[in-house]
């Protein structure tokens, strides 16, 4: 059986592929906690935060919530040179993923309730941010 489902040489009928769009709500970092408190009041539970490296200057932080298997995504554009607000004071479950983002992308979180100081996965001698595509210098708090 041909194992390549996607191949330049395939004679198969092409499938139309419009750009996939993930419905997210773009918000400002300053209003993040207010929005999260609102979602929490509406019965949403925290799923995760996804950090996406955009360019030399910034990353996207996508906050995902769920209620009855319906997902909601909030997105903030976060400058790499600035600290992001930690939401772990209102969502304790966020402390782990915020520490992971600190390790992997070098984004600092202000007010992290349990701060591993970039040592969740990494050893002390690691000075780079291994998941960044565009620059790998770690910001210090």
């Amino acid at each position: 059986m041909d194992e390549k489902t996607y191949s330049e040489n395939s004679a198969d009928k092409p499938v139309e592929q419009p750009k996939a769009v993930l419905e997210t709500r773009q918000i400002q970092a300053g209003s993040l906690k207010g929005e999260i408190l609102l979602l929490k009041d509406q019965g949403y539970r925290f799923v995760t935060i996804t950090c996406v490296d955009l360019d030399q200057e910034s990353v996207d932080l996508i906050y995902t919530f769920d209620r009855g298997l319906e997902m909601v995504h909030l997105r903030i554009r976060q400058p790499k040179a600035e600290s992001a607000p930690s939401v772990s004071d209102i969502l304790f479950a966020a402390f782990l993923v915020e520490n992971e983002i600190q390790d992997q992308f070098g984004i600092c979180f202000d007010g992290l309730v349990l701060d591993f100081q970039n040592r969740l996965y990494l050893e002390e001698e690691v000075a780079r941010t291994p998941f960044c595509r565009y620059n790998v210098t770690r910001n210090s708090k």
Partner: protein, 358 residues
């Protein structure tokens, strides 16, 4: 009273994989538990930049050494959604068959380890003996026991013959009977109940608030299971989440045991309704844009995020595994319990550290 800090793990007899907990004790009672990770972190998500989307199916299967098939399915579902590709009905049914077989062997592995954690060796041996039948099915139908590599974009790589369908059904009948023979031991035995009932309680409210998933969430009374989304052929099968109300280690044990029987029923339903036809939809092109997908792993909700730019490689792949979500609830379960109960409670969330650290 003075406090003592005791390291739990990363190497511990009950832990199949390394995780460290720093336990602060007052006398024999835990007052704080701080997790520490980083012993098996591999950075697999980052590989999406240098491995193309077909190769990445093999990579994500290696995120977890137990539920590898379901990782690959979640990856394929997300990309198929991005590329508007619909697998053929037969492939969707076959995906359910292998997914539920993985759930059965994962839960049996855990039930055995759980019995072993409080010294019930005979039960451990019995459960792992039963599990071997499922591993044999995997090997006979996919060529391997755990990493079965049946998923491809647009469907599955392997098919089942009518003879194999009959053989799987007969094997599962035996697994079901053998499990039912053990049911009274698993659910009523004095040793098991005394080590698990009322231990490591996670209330419904806490479980929800802390983002618990899978049997950890359902053992606390929340009826949420990603299989309710009806992905693949699940929309055609009869399914209701298994829920227990007590939120303790015993409730989580009971949920997994009943889910094992439920998965046997789902495999049976899928084999019975297996439609004829192709097992793969062929297509051209590369994904572009953003998408998320999620499925129910044995340990709970698995979440994938994809960002693609129209090339063969993804720009970003993010994997949120169930154990990653269950670590904050675990940290909340431990304060107030006796040190001697820590191993059983840690095991009760079915931790998969290989998954967690990726």
């Amino acid at each position: 009273m003075s406090k003592t800090i005791i390291p739990f793990g990363p190497q511990h007899p009950v832990l199949p994989e390394p995780i460290h907990l720093s336990l602060t004790l007052e006398d024999e009672i835990v007052v704080e538990a701080l997790p520490a990770l980083g012993y098996v972190h591999r950075g697999l998500e980052k590989l999406c930049e240098i491995r193309d989307i077909n190769q990445m199916i093999q990579v994500v299967e290696r995120v977890c050494g137990i539920c590898s098939k379901i990782h690959a399915q979640c990856f394929c579902l997300g990309l198929e959604k991005m590329m508007n590709v619909e697998p053929p009905p037969r492939a969707e049914y076959l995906r359910v068959v292998w997914s539920e077989l993985h759930r059965i062997h994962s839960h049996l592995l855990w039930l055995g380890l759980f019995a072993d954690s409080f010294g019930f060796e005979a039960l451990f041996y019995q459960l792992w003996k039963i599990r071997e039948r499922v591993m044999d099915i995997n090997e006979a139908t996919a060529g391997n026991r755990v990493i079965i590599s049946v998923n491809v974009l647009g469907g599955v790589r392997r098919d089942l013959s009518a003879e194999q369908v009959r053989w799987i059904t007969s094997q599962l009948n035996m697994v079901e009977q053998e499990l039912k023979d053990l049911q009274s031991t698993i659910l009523d035995d004095y040793t098991i109940r005394s080590r698990t009932v009322g231990k490591g309680i996670l209330t419904r409210e806490k479980a929800y608030e802390l983002g618990a998933v899978g049997p950890t969430l359902r053992g606390s009374g929340v009826a949420q299971d990603c299989r309710q989304l009806g992905s693949s052929a699940l929309k055609h099968l009869e399914f209701q989440p298994v829920v227990e109300q007590d939120g303790d280690s015993f409730a989580r044990n009971k949920v997994r045991f009943l889910e094992t029987l439920q998965s046997i029923s789902l495999v049976r339903q899928a084999l019975k309704g297996l439609p004829k036809g192709e097992i793969k939809t062929k297509f051209k092109g590369s994904p572009e844009g953003e998408a998320v997908s999620r499925v129910e792993q044995p340990r709970g909700e698995l979440f994938y995020y994809f960002k693609a730019n129209g090339t063969k490689n993804l720009e970003r792949l993010r994997i949120r595994t169930p154990t990653f979500a269950n670590i904050p609830p675990l940290a909340a379960m431990l304060p107030g319990i006796e040190l001697a109960d820590v191993p059983v409670i840690v095991l009760s969330i079915d931790p998969c550290i290989s998954c967690t650290e990726r």
